[in-house]
Amino acid sequence: MKLLFTSGRTIRQGEQLYYKDNPKYTEQTSLCYINPLDLVEIGVFDGDLVRIKSCEGETVFKVVETRDVQQGMVFIPCGPHANSILHSHTHGTGAPDYKWLDVDVVPAEEGDRILSAWEILESEGGLRYDNTYPGVLTKSPDGDCVVEDVTCPLCGCLCDDIKLTIKDNDIVGVDNGCALCSGKFLAKERLKAPIMRTENGWKDISYDEAIEYTADILLKAKRPLLFGWSGTYGEAQCVGVSIAEAIGGVIDNCSSICHGPSIMAIQEAGHPGCTLGQIKNRADLIVYWGSNPIESHPRHMSRYSMYPDGFFLKDAFRDRKLIVVDIRETDVAKNADEFVKIKPGGDYAVFSALRAIVRGRSDVVPETVSGVKKTQLIRVAEMCMNAKFGVFFTGIGLTESPGKYKNVRNGIELVDELSRHTKFTLTPMRGHWNVYGTNQTFTYMGGYPYAMDFSRGTAFYNPGETSTVDLLLRGEVDACIIIGSDPGAHLPRKCNEALSKIPCVVIDPFPSMSTATANVQIPVAICGIDAEGTAYRLDSIPLWVKKVLEPTQPNDEEILTRIYDIIARKKGIVKSEDKIKAQSAEWEARK
């Protein structure tokens, strides 16, 4: 049966982010959620296996029956299974069609089985690594202690009220955090030493060898790519930008596959926003549009939008209204005062209809728009105009479906329109804990928030051309550094196939799906556990992410600085202290 594929976060998938080599991860990313009426037509039941085929390939999934998904659609948690059948065309935006793919769903055949995540990566040219270190890689005085007000390095909420209980050099308790947060703080099984892929499998190498190797492939490459960054801290990102500049490479971050289109929209129309505290103290209307915070930002509603005390709200919980706009009836949608269920790809038209109504031109709006009744649209527009302070939280439901950045732009223009009547703001639901930080550091260092290409000697930016998926699809990249991200799990098949063929170094504390495509992986201390640095929350508030244990491994900044130093020496770039010394020496010589 022909269905429309859409992928996204689930909390169960999110909990396994640091356990990707574990079968539980595979279990979560190989599910597919289908409406019961469609299941009848396909001829399968809940729990059965199906084959899902696309233009790119096919793989086997396990069916979950749900009425939350509209007829005609199949929802798959994001991960290697979904991406193994996704094509890599971005329509000039850099972001793949994670939420829009025509697929054929048929019952599985005799002997079909679900492939593990590792098997998927191996089918894309990778090699699994399953020799993690069960021991503890930090050092700390033995005994117990509790660290309060820790900042959580998981999602864009950057909650800074986490309480960690540490016992004998080990984090054993996480209070206040959500499931995703605990998943990360409690994750063990890190990589102990740098590893290198050889003809006979993986072998351990020294940090010196790994660093030399990395500098070497970057120096030799014609079109090197430095990708990821949203899982590391600002100080390390700055070194990354300097490396990219020194080698004339491309530096890109995860925005290019998630909220890059939001940034493109902002570059066209601007961004009427505010900090999250402004929202919790004032907002009486919260709109989540194409965003599912319960799964992706579990504490967002309790800390910043629906449930906290608000200075200007007497009874914060009752005084706030919630609107959810989505193609699926998510758990957030079930709690909404108004759930606007739109047909996939219909966001742009719904924004336009609302703009028309707000401008007093409801006469031009047809009776239904993208499956939404006009009466509901008028009700929603009135709720917006009657709010004292309203906010749109926009998710990747807008950026990865047809229209992409134009959807977000239309949303911004609706806010612009509403701002003539009341107070309204818009905040993209940035995903990774420091993905907004990558945009900040790239911008002040080089001028552009992502997809920055230094091959001309100056910084050049053109998402769709200089963004990771497009570069990999065109086969331009001939060496790649991956840091603070896991493209192995989150890029479409062709991209991973391309990465498997070129020299590729992963800088990451854990074995991840990207380990499979790497030639070398360098393990590092984890920011928030045994490393520290600056991160930017999804509303651009900069926070210090502290270290709670002492590291035995170098951190990202140290590794990158050593790589930079080798490159700088080979390229004849003199470091500042040396320049000062040189000036002194020149003076001495002149005497």
């Binding site: 309060e148 570059q267 601007g270 402004q278 002040y444 080089g446 651009s540 320049k579």
Partner: protein
């Protein structure tokens, strides 16, 4: 460290009353000294114009708002791109340059100390992160208090000391330098999409007026003995007829400090408008200058507008939205909880546009009518009026009536009817310019004693040598030579190190962040106030313990401890 001997310098050093003497300047360990030994390195200034390093007392270079200006404007980034040089990073950005571009371009113009004009306390860490890369400049940040809830609550209670305590705690927590008010009261009102009109409208809920906020903050500032005065962006920016609001604000200013002004009014060009709507907009620079001339307790900067493309950015959120409704290009807004607001839009100032032509004239008129250059500093409120790279052109306009007339003739034909620039004969000299670009700033910021803005013994060896012999050119006629000379130094020396030569930056380092740390009595320390802690935890979206920028976060920094008298 090396000793340095600058020979044959044509020195203008207004703080020390030096006006064009050929001198030698001797430097040791980054400071100016009486003499150096025979082994000192010699720089021959060849009789060229030599000034203390330039100081910008109001510009926007580092922080959340500035970076958002870059982030939303790839077109502006592309307009200012430059390749990496042997000792310089690649740069981007024309009106909102990247941090390295700001660093190099200011240094090439002979500037060595820069004040970021508006830092939201909650986002201070971002400003300091960028400051780290401003390697050729000492930096400091004005800290925003215009919509600070704790300040407004203290004022509503009539408690000056408590208001001062809030300022003290915040400045030390965020490593800020000055007390900045941007459209006081207006940013809180903007939280619900409203604004205040001039200074007597009460702020909703808090029940205090902008006039009260300004007055309390001036008194609190002096109580805390801060080096700089209150730094005010007046209410009603950019509105026709706003000059009355500006005049009243100036007139109410008490004279509380004998070393410097008690109130610094920034980008006053934007606040000197007559008329009642855009169609009858006219210059009221004469009235504003008249007030400044009789009030030693105020100092202003120009906020000069120059024609061309730029980006406006300010904590004045409602003003930016109004401006956006005229330009309808793109608009960003960013309100900061419990503290302030901000907005950004790109603009184009056209010489064919009457309003823009009037704005251009007003800035120059202010500088020409304020009698003492110590009271009127040269700025563009960069990038709001124009990017700072336009400073040499502005200087040339102030020095040459001929140049002004030529430029005026190219503006909208009605400009003369609405302005008085054509009637002003004054032509500033090099000494005036030296005051308006460094010495007055040092005095206004209260950092002369820290060795800024002059070349006396003990001062920081921040020195700019420009490729021009003052006696050889007539700036009233040869304005192009003035522009050329001021656009690029022969030598920019920072703390005794030659950091930039003929536009090529040579090294990094030697940059310090200045911040203040007023020591208030224990009973006024906010961290001991349970009520403050309770409110903070309830209404901010970060934990109190994670709010302060720790000293260990900072690069090189200089803490200015003050000892207020709270008894």
């Amino acid at each position: 460290m090396n000793e340095l001997l600058i020979r044959n310098a044509y020195v203008i050093d207004p703080v020390n009353g030096v006006n064009g003497e050929i001198r030698d300047i001797t430097v040791k360990d980054g400071k100016i000294v009486e003499s150096v030994g025979s082994r000192a390195v010699v720089v021959d200034a060849k009789g060229h114009l030599t000034l203390p390093g330039g100081i910008d007392s109001h510009t926007h270079i580092c922080g959340t708002k500035v970076n958002f200006g870059r982030y939303m404007s790839p077109e502006d980034m592309r307009a200012g791109r430059g390749r990496a040089q042997p000792h310089m990073h690649a740069v981007s950005g024309y009106s909102v340059p990247t941090v390295y571009a700001n660093n190099y371009r200011y240094s090439a113009m002979g500037y060595t100390t820069i004040l970021e004009g508006a830092m939201a306390p909650m986002e201070a860490r971002h400003t300091h992160e960028e400051f780290r890369h401003m390697t050729l400049h000492d930096t400091m940040a004005n800290t925003l208090f215009d919509g600070n809830w704790s300040v407004m609550e203290a004022i509503a209670e009539g408690d000056l000391k408590k208001a001062a305590a809030v300022v003290a705690w915040t400045l030390s927590a965020v490593k800020g330098f000055g007390l900045k008010l941007t459209n006081p009261g207006g940013s809180e009102m903007w939280g619900f999409g409203k604004n205040v009109s001039c200074i007597h409208q009460k702020v909703d809920h808090f029940g205090v007026t902008p006039a009260e906020i300004i007055e309390y903050m001036i008194r609190a500032n002096e109580l805390l003995k801060l080096p700089h005065s209150v730094h005010l962006h007046c209410n009603n920016l950019g509105k026709p007829g706003n000059y009355k609001c500006t005049l009243e604000t100036m007139n109410r200013t008490p004279d509380l400090n004998d070393k410097r002004q008690s109130l610094y009014l920034t980008h006053v060009q934007f606040h000197s408008y007559g008329g009642s709507k855009w169609s009858d907009l006219c210059s009221k620079s004469d009235d504003i200058a008249w007030m400044v001339n009789r009030k030693p307790q105020v100092a202003i900067d120009m906020g000069q507008v120059m024609f061309g493309k730029t980006t406006t950015m300010t904590a004045d959120g409602p003003m930016e939205f109004n401006l956006y409704r005229m330009y309808h290009n793109k608009w960003s807004n960013h309100d900061v909880e419990l503290e302030t607001a901000s907005g950004i839009i790109p603009v184009f100032y056209s010489r064919k546009n009457l309003v823009n032509s009037i704005m251009w004239a007003i800035g120059l008129e202010l500088a020409l009518q304020v009698k003492s250059p110590w009271q009127c500093m040269l700025t563009t409120d960069s990038p709001n009026g124009a990017p700072f790279v336009k400073y040499p052109e502005i200087t040339a306009l102030l020095m040459s009536r001929k140049y002004r007339d030529e430029e005026l003739s190219r503006t909208h034909p009605d400009t003369e009817k609405r302005t008085l620039l054509h009637s002003l004969d004054r032509e500033l000299d090099w000494y005036d310019i030296a005051v308006m670009t460094r010495s007055a700033q040092a005095k206004a910021l209260g950092v002369t004693g820290l060795g800024k803005g002059h070349l006396g013994v003990g001062a920081d060896a921040d020195i700019a040598i420009y490729p021009v012999k003052v006696g050889d050119i007539d700036p009233t006629v040869e304005y192009e030579k003035v522009i050329k000379a001021l656009s690029q130094t022969e030598y920019t020396i920072k703390k005794g190190l030659i950091v930039c030569r003929n536009g090529n930056c040579l090294v990094e380092g030697r940059n310090t962040v200045y911040w203040v740390d007023p020591q208030v009595p224990d009973e006024y320390r906010l961290e001991n106030d349970p009520e403050f802690i309770k409110k903070f935890e309830r209404y901010y979206s970060v934990k109190l313990s994670n709010y302060p920028v720790r000293e260990s976060y900072m690069h090189e920094n200089y803490r200015i401890e003050t000892h207020p008298d709270f008894d």
